[in-house]
């Protein structure tokens, strides 16, 4: 169960690395094909958020378990940066249908892809996104 890995996100190339690792881990944890793709897409979006808004950060992913609902296991992904932070989280999480570059689709989209999505941000200190998906 100690499957955990960490990916430094410094440029757009690292987005690809992060989502490939996420895909591999999701497969290893026993997710089915559709869910593996959803997880990889969600990682892509949060990693892109780091590149677009914070320049650098990291993504840590690993397995997670809960005793709720008769006990479930899943994957947890934490995206962390020390960037400028998001001033208005509620606004950032609003879905902008016709988006320009940057926030609009990415984060709210990632939230839809996952079962749990939590975002903590402080202006000037950075942003931490924690998201989970449970096996069905």
């Amino acid at each position: 169960m100690a499957t955990e890995n960490q990916t430094e996100i410094r440029s757009a190339v690292d987005i690809v690395t992060a989502r490939q690792r996420g895909r591999a881990l999701a497969l290893e944890l026993g997710f089915n094909g559709a869910d593996v793709t959803l997880i990889a897409a969600a990682i892509s979006e949060v990693a892109r958020n780091i590149v677009d808004h914070a320049k650098s950060g990291e993504i840590v992913m690993g397995s997670v378990a809960t005793t709720q609902n008769g006990g479930r296991t899943g994957i947890q992904i934490i995206a962390r940066d020390q960037g400028p932070g998001i001033r208005d989280v509620a606004q950032a999480m609003q879905y902008g249908y016709s988006t320009r570059k940057g926030l609009g689709v990415g984060l709210p989209g990632a939230k839809w892809l996952m079962d749990e999505f939590d975002i903590a941000s402080e202006a000037g200190r950075g942003t931490t996104i924690t998201m989970k998906k449970w096996k069905r």
Partner: protein, 124 residues
Amino acid sequence: MQVPILKQGGYLIASIQSVLSDSDLVQLRDNLGERVGSYRSRGVIIDVTVLDVIDSFATRTLRAIAHMLKLRGAETVIVGIQPDVAFAMVQLGLTLEGVGTALDLEEGLAYLDEKTKRAPVNGN
């Protein structure tokens, strides 16, 4: 990794071979824009069969490519989006609006035949 672009009659076929980084996609956009002009192509097929994720950036870029090529006088069709990828895209709210889609290369060619025949402005 650069995307090879083949010329097939009046069409261009960009066949993505592996996972793409953001800069590869941007490169593809620039290359297609240039070639459509030099070959006077009427249609472009972008084959994304191998892509295991099409995220918001990729979608945005593909859409931008299609719209830009339209202004250059060519129809674009995206072919080969896999079931799981399509599902993830709509979950993300990404729909490739205004861009043609087809199941695979063969269907893409049929789609372009239909489209370009119906657009006399682009006719030979």
